[in-house]
Symmetry: C2
Subunit: 131 residues, 2 copies
């Protein structure tokens, strides 16, 4: 929670609320999810502040921007390398905690110097399988 302290950053009530909302949140919220969740309690909350804070957190490495949703950016407070399961029916995005081995022969890497990777698994979640 004191991730924002230091370097001239100010700890405003809005930022604290956004950080608390994100802390441990595994729902991969978009900016407007955050706004809607907090505007009741903080009536002056604005989208500009949400985006501003997300940008700050992202730049400081406390937040990862996901590109899994074609409609909008989603944010993941878990910055440890991990992968995602995406339900093709209900669009739910679930973290994959297990470390998955990826065997990618270096001679196939097209001259790239690879620094990381991200796997999207597509499927049907347990509750969508039942319907």
């Amino acid at each position: 929670m004191d991730k924002l302290r230091g370097m001239g950053l100010k700890l405003t009530p809005q930022r604290i609320a956004i950080m608390q909302y994100l802390e441990g949140n595994t729902g991969h919220p978009a900016a407007d999810d955050i706004y809607k969740a907090l505007v009741q309690q903080y009536p002056t909350m604005s989208m500009a502040t949400v985006y501003n804070t997300l940008e700050v957190l992202k730049n400081r490495g406390h937040l990862r921007e996901l590109t899994v949703d074609p409609q909008k950016k989603r944010f993941d407070p878990n910055v440890q390398p991990h992968n995602h399961l995406i339900c093709v029916a209900c669009k739910k995005i679930v973290d994959v905690h297990s470390a998955i081995k990826v065997l990618f022969p270096p001679e196939e890497q097209g001259g790239f110097e690879i620094v990381g990777h991200h796997i999207e698994f597509y499927g049907r979640c347990a509750s969508c399988k039942k319907n």
Copy 2:
């Protein structure tokens, strides 16, 4: 090129041009890349027609919509399962042709029935490494 024939679909000059532009294109163009490339030769080409045609091709399984770019949708005429290398410097997206083994223990799959996956490799391409 006669992928569109049948089922009441009409083969208009605009659609033919878009399909020809996409055929074998490995640059993962966005809608406006396609529009800009074709509007010179087809002055009446419109974004609506580009989006319309992309939608038709996507629904018929001749095109894949990529979610790798946070700014806009990109399209890939290669619908065979494959992965992508993304240069973190120049944002270039390159196909990975080799089949990559992914070891994902079923007991870790959170009850999902997995139907496919897509890997984004992040790195620096050969020419960006040199700068």
